[in-house]
Symmetry: C2
Subunit: 427 residues, 2 copies
């Protein structure tokens, strides 16, 4: 589902190695370097395991001197943090990334990234969702007009990023007590981070007497206004919230940032409330490729990442709640016999089904009982059974049984594959 | 292609972590432990990266006390060996594994594994291929009747495994000079390893006066005879060669082993000869799960592994040779305009295409030139272009252009999606 959406948007698949040079990673990941898994020194370069798919993509672009690329990548990443299984958070997890690299007219690729998130989350039917949007330049502008010293921008931004897990009171405490911010500066930030809304909030911020004097903030607001225009054309603006509390933890973002969250429906009695944090996120990182390029050539990029484990966790919980049973295989037809010594006939028949592209199984027994075979189909949710026995063989037919309805019909052997394909295409 | 074949045979997908406990891996991989990548000790258990997907699968079965499972897995594995890019051999590579675990009647799952290899290699159209088959018990029987001391079985087997890269003369030298085997014993082995053929060779080995006295060899030959019977029913026996020189490097095999090789067609003048070794391999490993189980419960297993990189390498070479161009994206429709200030219309239109499941792209520019847009389609192999301009907008139509034929027709705006879908389904 996710990959087919990426392909629908013209991306090509790219695979990069799990290893990166240790120094490449530690330099680029800011406060997160403690989370990196290093390989043991067994000779050769010092290597680490990638902690996301963005840094390797930027390194790949720089190494291959690529100025433009639209790629998707599905791969594992590793972070040495405490796993919280209840939130679908592990030390090894799978990310699905989509990125657009290249110098283009503003906000067109950015809008496409948000469109993709909407298509994927709608397609997965996870319930209602909201994409929070902000811009790093607006955050920096706010910090500047509130009087945060420039040297503290990144540290204060990292505190702000915790607002989805901590209250403002606690975040304010961290800013003041741990990061040495003046309390009155923190309070001014607090007034801003409370704000969230749609395009009207962007207009409102343009009118803010202090912010409108800040060059960076103005650039961010101008882009956001354009972004909202494009999102309206895409028909998704009602899914987007301009949220001044959104910060995103990673250092490499330079412009628009976003994070999709699922909206909780009021939990029914006895139902566990799902709290999985963000299920998709991303943003613009215009400087990262240049950091890997010996000559510092810039390649502006924007991208998104889908959190597979969290989405699986939610889907599992939903299915548990609804009592739905998930099939783990896709087998369409089971080859059965009521008779002893029919292994040869079964093998010939199943090979014919496989060769016709039909998903088929049989039991690996010389003489299985018919009941065992039918039970297997019911347990596994296999919809069709073909039954071959002495009687059928004499008459040149095969019995075709529907597992749900238990109806059986005799089909001429030579018409069997066509009949199965017809039934499968109808269902 | 590969995964859909695995699903056709009723397997469910399984993902295991890239890390395994270091001790779990080093104990199980015999002579290969020098190839394992270890993680740096950063606190917690000592971890290594998996070097295949078989050992983690066996560990998974034992840990979860599973007695039966048919699973496939596509994942990366890592080995610290010298990469030889010319053979598609890297330190990080992707394996596609299919395994059947459980106690079943003999050779039915084994035959299915060989059928799967045939289906995949035929489906990929890599040219003619052959699957070499042997049995570890026959190898051990040969060693026993030739007079190899039992303590040297594994070491001599490891030498034998090099027969696909080295001549018998060099292998014999290694057996005698490095592994201390008596020259006359090596020569007797040499007489056996020359043999390869079909079912008739199995019959011939049954008549071998020495081998037919060896219990292990007899068991192996009995199973191989049954296997050939099933392969004949599957219609693939002519692809199989009983080859007494096949040994397989890994220690964990206990019965049937196999390895698929592509048959070289006589290289045309100027064409590089492709030598990539085996493209698929596997075998039966009945003892591996028990090694991970605290109580030593056995779960017999048989499986196969497809070497993706090698297959990609061959396909690439073939395409280069034939001058075919590979499309890296699947984009079906490009949204273009000959006019300035048509970004809004383009954005609305492309969102409509995406929402209808059509793979569509446009340039991320406010005012791209029409020629640039059409060139992009030709370069990327995009078959259809929709063109919207002032004229078309007035008339409520959209131009649909076929890139290969350059034919254009005007379609009513409301019929556009249906017309595109019709054209795509026809091509």
């Amino acid at each position: 589902m996710v990959v087919s959406c990426f392909k629908r948007h013209g991306a090509k698949g790219l695979d990069t190695p799990a290893f990166e040079l240790k120094e490449m990673l530690t330099e680029k990941c800011g406060e997160n370097f403690g989370l990196i898994y290093d390989l043991k020194d067994q000779g050769g370069e010092l290597l680490s395991l990638r902690y996301d798919l963005t840094v390797p993509f930027a390194r790949y672009l720089a190494m291959n001197k690529l100025k433009k690329m639209k790629r998707y990548q599905v791969g594992k990443v590793w972070r040495r943090e405490s796993p919280t299984i209840a939130q679908g958070r592990y030390r090894e997890f799978c990310q699905c990334d989509f990125d657009i690299a290249g110098q283009f007219d503003p906000m067109i690729p950015d809008a496409e990234c948000l469109k993709i998130i909407c298509e994927i989350l709608s397609g997965l039917q996870l319930g209602d969702f909201l994409i929070k949007v902000n811009d790093r330049r607006i955050i920096d502008g706010i910090f500047a007009v509130c009087g945060v010293p420039e040297s503290k921008f990144r540290a204060i931004c990292a505190s702000m990023d915790k607002l989805d897990k901590m209250s403002w009171k606690d975040v304010r405490h961290e800013m003041v007590a741990k990061k040495g911010l003046a309390p009155e500066v923190a309070d001014q930030i607090g007034d801003y981070v409370k704000c969230h809304g749609g395009i009207s909030l962007v207009e409102q911020m343009f009118q803010d007497p202090r912010l409108s004097q800040n060059k960076q903030a103005l650039e961010g607001l101008t882009d956001l206004k354009l972004l909202f225009e494009y999102l309206t054309l895409f028909g998704i603006s009602e899914k987007i919230s301009f949220d001044l509390s959104l910060a995103r933890g990673l250092d490499y973002y330079t412009g628009v940032i976003y994070e999709a969250v699922l909206l909780q429906t009021a939990a029914k009695a006895g139902e566990e409330s799902l709290n999985v944090g963000s299920v998709a996120a991303g943003g613009r990182y215009d400087e990262l490729v240049a950091m890997f390029d010996p000559k510092g050539h810039k390649v502006p990029c924007v991208g998104l990442s889908i959190g597979v484990e969290r989405i699986f966790y939610i889907m599992e919980q939903k299915m548990k709640a609804s009592g739905e049973k998930v099939r783990t295989t896709e087998t369409q037809v089971f080859v059965a016999t009521p008779q002893k010594n029919f292994l040869q006939e079964r093998l010939k028949l199943i090979a014919e089904l496989w060769d016709s592209g039909i998903k088929a199984e049989m039991l690996y027994k010389n003489n299985p009982k018919l009941l065992t075979q039918l039970h297997y189909c019911e347990n596994m949710g296999i919809p069709l059974v073909v039954i071959i026995g002495e009687q059928e063989q004499k008459e040149g037919v095969i019995k075709l049984r529907s597992v749900p309805s238990r109806e059986e019909v005799a089909i001429k052997r030579e018409n069997l594959v066509a009949e199965i394909q017809k039934r499968l295409s109808e269902s």
